[in-house]
């Protein structure tokens, strides 16, 4: 499995990237860590005319806190986020999730933004963004409307499909910071630790309400709000059926629904760690 031929560009500034995207549009693909895109190219699921390697753009790699958001630039690797000393304090959900994202060998190169813009429905980072109600920043070359901020709920539109336009670059992802009276939990079942999830569940447990998200079942991460005074098992059963699970080579639809019920029960009823 080898990629089809493509032109390769390694721009050194954000402006150069946006110009290339403006000129090439849907014939171009952006390469950052390559842990999603290179597999897609190798399998020839995409045959772009131009691959734009943004690895040389220095100002796209950062982890910053700005206005109660944890902001992560497009070149920041998953391993850097996992090693960030303040992760557990500011983003306890991500601290739980990151060890499940791929393997250490792929986290070494894979980027946080890359996983989110790839939008695999069973990937953990898109699920985390959806459950936390985060947002992404998309930039394009335009004299006036060059930049927009899109909430996760609008960004993920289906299997490997997002609201990003072909001439836009996802420059930053923003996760809301942890709130002291909230509890953050995550669990998943996969064929092998680090593989894509059969079912992944993330929960934000607030004083009045639980925000529960599921990955790996529908064509995108799905979020449901559950008031705390409801019967969890009934709610989980409704949630499991609402996801439209399908059977594939790895698991039947019934097994996936059962995982949502069982993992959900454990996640919502276990004592706070």
């Amino acid at each position: 499995m080898k990629p089809a031929a493509f032109d390769y560009a390694r721009p050194e500034s954000r402006g150069e990237v946006l110009k290339l995207l403006a000129d090439t549009g849907s014939d171009a693909r952006v390469l950052a860590g390559g842990q999603s895109l290179m597999a897609v190219l190798n399998m020839r699921l995409a045959e772009p005319a131009l691959v734009i390697d943004i690895g040389g753009v220095a100002d796209l790699g950062y982890i910053e806190i700005r206005d109660d958001r944890l902001c992560i630039g497009a070149n920041t690797r998953q391993a850097e986020l996992l090693a960030w000393p303040e992760l557990a304090e500011h983003a306890p959900l991500l601290a739980r999730v990151m060890p499940w994202v791929g393997h250490f060998q792929t986290r070494n190169r894979g980027t946080v933004c890359g996983s989110i813009t790839h939008a695999d429905p069973s990937a953990e980072l898109p699920l985390s963004l959806a459950v936390l109600g985060g947002e992404v920043v998309l930039e394009r070359r335009h004299w006036r409307r060059g930049r927009r901020v899109v909430p996760a709920a609008e960004f993920f539109q289906g299997l490997l499909t997002t609201a990003r336009e072909p001439d836009e670059l996802l420059t930053e992802v923003r996760f809301p910071l942890a709130r002291a009276d909230h509890d953050y939990r995550f669990t998943e079942v996969a064929m092998r630790h680090g593989d894509f999830a059969l079912v992944a569940l993330a929960a934000v447990i607030g004083p009045d309400e639980i925000v529960l998200g599921a990955g790996g079942v529908a064509d995108r991460p799905v979020v449901r709000r559950i008031p705390r005074d409801r019967d969890f098992d009934t709610e989980l059963n409704i949630f499991a059926w609402s996801l439209g699970a399908e059977s594939d080579a790895h698991a039947s639809a019934a097994y996936r629904r059962q995982l949502v019920r069982e993992l959900g029960h454990k996640l919502l009823t276990q004592a706070t760690p």
């Binding site: 499995m1 080898k2 990629p3 089809a4 031929a5 493509f6 032109d7 390769y8 560009a9 390694r10 721009p11 050194e12 150069e16 390469l31 390559g34 842990q35 290179m38 597999a39 190219l41 190798n42 399998m43 005319a49 691959v51 390697d53 690895g55 040389g56 391993a79 060890p99 791929g102 393997h103 250490f104 060998q105 792929t106 070494n108 190169r109 092998r192 630790h193 680090g194 593989d195």
Partner: protein, 171 residues
Amino acid sequence: MTRIAANTPCRVRLILNGKERVGQAESRMLLSDFIRHELGATGTHLGCEHGVCGACTVRVDGVASRACLMLAVQAEGRRIDTVEGLCDGDALGDLQAAFKRHHALQCGFCTAGILNSCAEFLDKTPEPSELDVRDMLSGHLCRCTGYTGIVAAVLEVAAQRRGAPPETSHV
């Protein structure tokens, strides 16, 4: 800005196991194919070519990475370490010797990649638990060994490097 047109070989220069090497690569050539076919270092193996099996794992600037998920042109100017660099002159390095002692390989197809992961892992995690080792190994598929020997070998090398006396009773 670097630009390379499709189907046009260009020169790639990198440091392979401490020696500067130069070869020709088209933009679409994978780092794994460049190392094997252009530079002749065939110790790096290819299983799946989409990032799942870990056989092709090398170290890029010291960091374990899939060579099948990287373009040769992205390795320009970088330090690439492969299994060939792990030996100690003509003798096996400590990690390789431990693999041999513990029967941590049978066909050996997966081994080069695993050794490279272990090399970075032990640098960063000098006192690993068995769970840490198994977590690190989850990025590799080995169809022969059942992993038990691999775990034992890695734990032994970690202990040796910390100065613990070697265990003697390997049959």
